[in-house]
Structures are given as C-alpha cells and as structure tokens.
C-alpha cells in the first residue's frame, strides 16, 4: 500500500547560475499536515512555484499520487492549470486575488477546472449549463460559509479586510477540490486571534481528508498543527522530522540563529 501523495526527488532550480533549490528530496504522506520552514530566502516559495508549474525545475522529478494505490503522475513539465486540475491547489504569500471581482466570483473561478460549459453553452444557456452554473454558485457559497466569509458574497475582493483576503484565497483554492493544498504563509501578518482562527480552519480542512503542505514562519502554528516538518536553507533540505525532533536539531538551530 502506498501512503505517499507527493514524492520529490533531486529537485533543483537555478536562476542565472544561482541554485535556488539544490537537489531537494521530499515526500509528503496522504492526509498529513506538513510544513516547510526555513529562514527568509531559503527557497520555500520557489519550491511551491516549482510544484505548481510556475517555474520550470532544471533537474529532478515531482511525482504526484492522486489517491491510494493510484498511478503516479509526473507534475514536472506540466502547465500550472493542468497541475491544478490534477488536484494540487495553492495560495500565495503576497495575496493574489482578483480584486475587481466579487468574493463569490473569486471562489467561482476556483470551480473553473471542475466545470465544463463552453461558449455555446454560455450563449444558449441550456439546461446543462444552467445546472452547472447553479452548482458552481452553490458550491462556492458553501465554501465561503465554511471559511466564514458568507457575509461578503457580493463585496469586491479588493475591498475586503486583510484577514478576510487570506481566507478568501484559501476558499478559492478549496473550490478547485484539491487533494493536496499548498498554503504559502497562511498566517502572515495576522494578529494572534486571527492566527488561532486560521489554525482552526486548517485543522478542519485537514480533518476532511485533504493533505496540506504549508510554509510558515509562525513556529507556534507549525509546531502545534503539523505532523512533519521539513527545514530548508540555501535551497537544501537540512532536516526533517516531527516537531519535537526539529526543535532539538542542532542544524536547524544553527540555520535560524546563524553559526
């Protein structure tokens, strides 16, 4: 039986000769909450960008298992939208919503890859299209309720308060029905109360059977939420293990505090 959902081996990326990721090996288990931590500039976001197809890795392999015993799919070389369709969705560190669209529409965009309506469907608005459109609206609204944004449905996303924008990003990613959810600093810039709420939300989502991989600087969040932690520094993995192991790992302490 295969319990891995994502297997990364030998992943490297270079920008103009500088190695941003250096021979990274990683594997994420089904239904776990895992975290990638590391000092600023360690290559965490670059890692996410590789996983989601925004950057092209220069070497290595990314294998995705869309379910237990499922055939492995290589995500390397796939376009971002294909990766999302396979079941990997993400949020962004510096929020990238569609500010001119309403909150609900933002989530509806997430449903794009799970719906089919074509131009002709849009023009003639036949029964199938109408049903699909209603399904998109209903599902999106349910997701908004779930992340606690039901009150903002018709508000422009650009006008939402900061914390709500972060939640909306998560809602949008959830709408794509991912198996693996990548969260890039979900608690960045939040006050302690908001961080607690976000932690609760992440826990709930994970309880539904989603695998979550997150990047975070808030150690309290990481240590209490995640089963496994990967530490990278200068594009290399320097440690991995449970929160307890990471806390006492001398390499990690060195990387964070400086030698």
């Amino acid at each position: 039986m295969n319990t891995t959902i994502l297997k990364i081996s030998g992943l490297s990326v270079s920008f103009g000769g500088i190695l941003a990721l250096d021979n990274l090996d990683l594997d994420i288990k089904q239904k776990e909450i895992a975290a990638v931590i590391g000092p600023n500039g360690a290559g965490k976001t670059t890692f996410f960008n590789c996983l989601t197809g925004l950057y092209a890795p220069s070497a290595g392999e990314i294998l995705f298992y869309p379910g237990r015993d499922a055939e492995a799919v290589s995500l390397k070389g796939m376009k971002p939208h294909q990766i999302t369709e396979k079941g990997v969705a993400r949020t962004f560190q510096n929020i990238r919503l569609f500010p001119g669209m309403t909150t609900l529409e933002n989530v509806m965009i997430g449903r794009h890859c799970r719906s089919r309506a074509s131009i002709l469907g849009a023009l003639f608005r036949n029964a199938a299209t109408r049903r699909e459109e209603q399904e998109i609206i209903d599902t999106s609204y349910t997701i908004l309720e779930r992340v606690g944004l039901a009150g903002y449905v018709n508000e422009l996303a650009g006008n939402l308060p900061y914390g709500a924008q972060r939640r909306l990003e998560m809602a949008r990613a959830l709408a794509a029905e991912p198996l693996l959810l990548l969260l890039d600093e979900p608690a960045a810039g939040m006050n302690p109360q908001e961080t607690l709420n976000i932690m609760e939300l992440i826990g709930e989502i994970a309880a539904d059977g989603l695998t979550i991989l997150l990047i975070e600087h808030d150690m309290k969040l990481v240590m209490s939420l995640c089963q496994r932690i990967f530490v990278i520094d200068y594009g290399r993995k320097i440690a991995q293990g449970s929160p307890g192991e990471i806390r006492s790992n001398p390499d990690v302490i060195k990387a964070y505090l400086g030698a």
Partner: protein, 300 residues
C-alpha cells in the same frame, strides 16, 4: 560590395534618426511606464520649428552656419516646451488613473498636435531648405554616403555623448535613474518626482527635435503627418532594444535602420515598413523583453 556599403551607411543614418526619437520613448517609459504616443508629433514640431526659423533667417540673409545653429536651438527649445506642456496637460492629471487612460489621452494629444500644425501651417508637403552643405572632403566617398549622412551620424554621436553624461553624472540624471528604479522611494529621499518627469519629457523632446531637423534636412521635405510613422518606427526600435533601456533604444534603432535599409535594397522597396514590423514581431516572439531588456522575472 559597393551597393552593400551604400546600404549599410544609409541604414546607419536611418538608425541614428530612429535612435534620437526612440530615446524619448524609452526614457519616458522607463520613468512613468507610459507609451507617449504624442512623441512622434513632438519630433514633427521640431522639424517644423527648425524649418520656420531657418527659412526666416535665410530670407533675412543670415549666413548658413548661424542659421543652422539658431534653427537647431529653436527646434530644441520649442519641442522641449511642447513636451513639457503635453506632460503637464495630458499626463500629469492622470498619474493615478487606470493604466489605459493616459494612453488614450496621449492618442488624443497626438491627433490634436497633428491637426494644430496642419491648421497653423499647411497640409501640403513643404520643401525643407538645404541646411547641410556638401562637404568638400566628402567628394571621394560620395558614392557611398552623402554629406548629410556624415553630419547626421556625427551629430547623433555627440548628442548621445551629452545624454550619457547627463544621465551618468549630473544631479538630474541621477534623480532620473532613481525615479525610474522606484518612484515612491525616490520621492521619500527628497527627489521632486514631478520635476524629474518634466525634465525627462523636455530632454526626450529636445532629442526628437534634433532628429526631426536632421531628417528633414536629409530628405528635404516635411508635412504635418511625418510624426506618426516616425513615431511608430522609433517606438518599435525602443521595444526592439528593450523598452526602458537607453543603450537598448540605440541598439534597437540601429538594428531596425539596417534591416530596413538592406531589405528595401535587396528585396523590395514596397514593403519597407512591413519588414520593420515583421522584425519586431519576430524578435519579441523569441526575446519577449527585447534585445537588451531586463528579463522580467515574475515575482510570485
């Protein structure tokens, strides 16, 4: 071989003129990210101003050398003034407007200036006075290139030198570079950004005016519409080289000038402009940010 050299120099001359106009585009774009569509018109106004001043002076019997210098200075001054005014009226109020609005405003300015010159002067082609004398020492090379080519190339070189000096070493040049990098930051360290933008327009317009005067003297006729094509070509050159980059604008202009010259010489003169645009499309497909443009690394 003979024909080749001839085409080479004519391409170089063309490129030099394009460069003088393209610099204005690239500098303005580098600082406020706007395609200044009215820039071609500033060039046309430069040509007209120098025509008017030179004609008046020659009618009053001034010596040729003085005429050229005064006409050139007048063209630079007035084009600079027009550039400044256009920026003040049509762009500055739109500094924080949606991205396309200044572009429409620029197109409006361009239509306005064209018709203004057409109404104030004439819609006909007018022949430009002969401002560049035949240089005696050029006789031996007359088959390859004319005196006006030499004058254009030298003038362009000198102007480029001055521009480089201004941008590298003067206070305003440093302020311009800083504003181009990050205008908010520049403002925070006490640079008067509006003044820098105005200065950029004035300098760019002055360069275009020199280009306008030179090309008019070279070709021998102008009308109110010459700014459009020259403007588009020069903008093409600026994009070709990587917009925002000053050496890029010069390189792009030379590449464009030479391509046009060789293509018209060897293939067909009917499709002169088609070659220019095809080259542009091809280069952008293979190098989406131009020849010397910084590769836009998308920050995610």
């Amino acid at each position: 071989m003979h024909y080749f050299i001839e085409l080479f120099f004519s391409g170089l001359t063309r490129g030099a003129i394009y460069a003088l106009i393209a610099l204005g585009y690239t500098m303005v774009y580098g600082i406020i990210g706007l395609i200044n569509f009215a820039h071609g018109e500033i060039y046309m106004i430069g040509a007209f101003t120098s025509y008017i001043v030179a004609s008046v002076l020659s009618l009053y019997g001034y010596p040729l050398f003085a005429t050229v210098i005064i006409a050139g200075a007048a063209a630079v001054v007035w084009s600079g003034a027009y550039g400044y005014t256009v920026e003040r009226l049509a762009y500055r109020p739109l500094r924080r407007a949606p991205r396309l609005s200044p572009l429409i405003s620029a197109i409006g300015m361009s239509i306005l200036l064209q018709n203004y010159v057409f109404l104030a002067q004439t819609s006909d082609f007018i022949s430009f006075p002969k401002l560049i004398p035949d240089l005696p020492f050029m006789d031996r090379y007359a088959d390859y290139l004319g005196s006006s080519d030499v004058v254009i190339l030298f003038t362009t070189l000198i102007v480029m030198g001055i521009l480089t000096f201004i941008i590298r070493y003067t206070r305003i040049g440093k302020a311009m570079r800083a504003t181009a990098q990050d205008s908010t930051m520049a403002m925070l360290v006490g640079i008067n950004v509006n003044r820098v933008i105005s200065a950029t327009f004035v300098i760019g317009s002055g360069l275009a005016a020199i280009g306008g005067m030179l090309i008019a003297a070279h070709i021998g006729q102008i009308n109110y519409y010459i700014g459009f094509l020259a403007g588009i070509k020069a903008f093409t050159a600026a994009v070709l080289g990587g917009i925002g980059s000053i050496p890029g604008a010069v390189l792009g202009s030379l590449v464009l000038g030479l391509t046009e010259s060789f293509a018209t010489g060897y293939v067909s003169s009917d499709y002169e402009d088609v070659f220019a645009f095809t080259l542009l499309v091809l280069i952008l497909i293979f190098r989406p940010s131009g020849l010397l443009g910084k590769k836009e690394s998308q920050k995610v």
